[in-house]
Subunit: 337 residues, 2 copies
């Protein structure tokens, strides 16, 4: 049975929703869940659930918490009793197969590098995310771990993203693209222009070329790589536009009683739109390149999102993603000097 260590203290609704999600997973997914965090708080939450004693559920105490406001690198070094530190330690020593957190993603990355280190051959780990598209979703990386990148980093992001999307998300022969300022070959900044030939020559990679910002949402690729600065801007801009349009609709609807009635009538349709763009379905995204299975979910995750994150953490262990990445590190080293 796959054993998933769960950071009970990370996320906006911790520990309540996290523990509830862990209980759901232990009940439904055929995994052992190890709740990591302040023992008393976890125990109090567990009392809210029935029949917990018969579930594959254990608790490991951790005294500290890496907060959302903590500086990632500092917290990783100084809070050695944090739930992230302890949980990843379980993975490191083989007592757990995967680790899941809804906490500070920068803190998770810094702690992972500190506790687990990088997979041999991987130059830089990446933060990834699942991004909604008109007909499903796409996998973006890096979305913030590496503000400045070299071509070989982006090359490795593509290799790692390809493995994850193929083996964990189950997409056959994923289409892999690179963000650029124009879809034609030859468009790009220096980084993109130098990365494209590496991707074109990558063995077993279904490279579909440049992807423009407007085409990500059209679902033209299953994996899209970019430097972490661009990834952050892309993601945050999407968030900003979605917020602004929603806010403008609310403001304009308020101005007319007829529109207020109309808004009431399309509420169901709007809810379905929100569901289609909801991160909760996907649970979380991996830190790719660190030497251990780590899934980081959204801070606003509820119990369903937590359960789904545990589902992908389980799959990541079963599919031996780390081994696949390690087996490709030779190729990485060969092509990208």
């Amino acid at each position: 049975m796959v054993r998933v260590a769960l950071d009970a203290m990370g996320g906006d609704y911790a520990p309540q929703e996290i523990v509830a999600g862990g209980v759901l997973a232990a009940r439904e997914l055929g995994v052992e869940v190890i709740l990591v965090g302040k023992r008393k708080e976890i125990a109090r939450e567990l009392e809210e659930h029935d029949d917990v004693s018969r579930l594959p559920l254990t608790v490991v105490h951790a005294d500290e918490v890496i907060e959302m406001t903590d500086h990632p690198a500092t917290a990783a070094k100084t809070k050695k009793k944090s739930s992230m530190h302890v949980g990843m330690g379980l993975v490191k020593e083989g007592a757990a197969d995967s680790f899941v957190t809804m906490g500070n993603s920068g803190g998770a990355l810094a702690t992972a590098l500190f506790v687990l280190g990088r997979i041999k051959g991987v130059k830089r780990p990446a933060l990834a995310t699942i991004y909604p598209t008109i007909d499903g979703y796409t996998f973006l990386l890096d979305i913030g771990a590496n503000a400045d990148c070299k071509p070989e980093y982006l090359y490795q992001f593509a290799i790692m993203g390809n493995i994850y999307v193929r083996d964990v998300l189950g997409v056959r022969n994923p289409r892999v693209g690179i963000i650029s300022n124009g879809e034609e070959r030859g468009k790009g900044n220096k980084l993109v222009l130098e990365t494209v030939p590496l991707l074109e020559n990558a063995p077993d990679l279904n490279f579909v070329g440049n992807v423009e910002g407007k085409d990500v949402a059209r679902g033209v690729a299953d994996v899209v790589v970019m430097d972490g600065f661009t990834g952050n801007v892309l993601l945050k801009t999407s968030e900003g536009i979605a917020w602004m349009l929603g806010e403008m609709i609310k403001q304009e609807v308020k101005k007319s009683p007829v529109a207020i009635l109309g808004a009431f009538l399309i509420k169901g349709a709007m809810k379905r739109v929100l569901a289609r763009t909801d991160y909760k379905e996907y649970g979380g995204a991996p830190l790719l390149g660190v030497d251990g299975n780590v899934i980081v979910g959204h801070g606003r995750s509820n119990r369903i999102a937590v359960r789904n994150a545990i589902r992908v953490a389980k799959s990541m262990a079963e599919q031996k993603v780390i081994e696949s990445i390690r087996n490709h590190s030779g190729i990485i080293g060969e092509n990208a000097k």
Copy 2:
């Protein structure tokens, strides 16, 4: 009277809507409009309007057209009889004060560099755009002219954007920001980290620091600078998200008769949202840094958008934007080595 040369051949609805916009401007704005393009086609369009002979409206023939599909640099060099070439030539020789086009923006930039050149002291010209926000708009540059930038380019974009927004758009003491992957000082890629101190030390610049992608739409700054690669991704991503959300709403509404009625009732509110995010109000944005007033509008511009572009082209001439930029080039040279 300010004389504005108008590219009658550029844009999706050329020459019909362009000529109509030129007629509107000549009628309403107290400007002389010089229609540049194929004489016969322009004459045919002018026949559709009344009393044209009494308006301050002239025609200058140009044999060629830079198409949307043309490669910018190649077209600028080889199509020397294009309407862009001829129109900017009028500005160069002092026969017009400003030039307006709704055509290929890359072609306009390349032609401007060829015909007008850069303002003395300016290292790189920038493409700008007006971007909708929750409470108005903000001015973004560079959105695509320079995929790779140096700190001193971004510094100059800030200076030029500040002058334009203050003098042409009439914003008092514009708040100037820089796109970054975090709002805290110290967040950024190498380019941003090196640019921030230049902006902090810029005289007479109301620098408000880093701006995240999600905060552009919140209207936290009046001018936001970035490299052209990031600008292109930001703009295209916004377009993609707006398209996707609109498309999803349509799809979900279709599934229920009640929602179809609801959608009918909020049509007015939705139209007002679209109006708030509509480029047509703003007419166009300048090529900043070229030695002549050039406004590039949206390819889908109708006659109203064309008229409004001529309005800003007039204001750009009246406010002597080029002179202000030239007067600041010494400061630019001093601070950004």
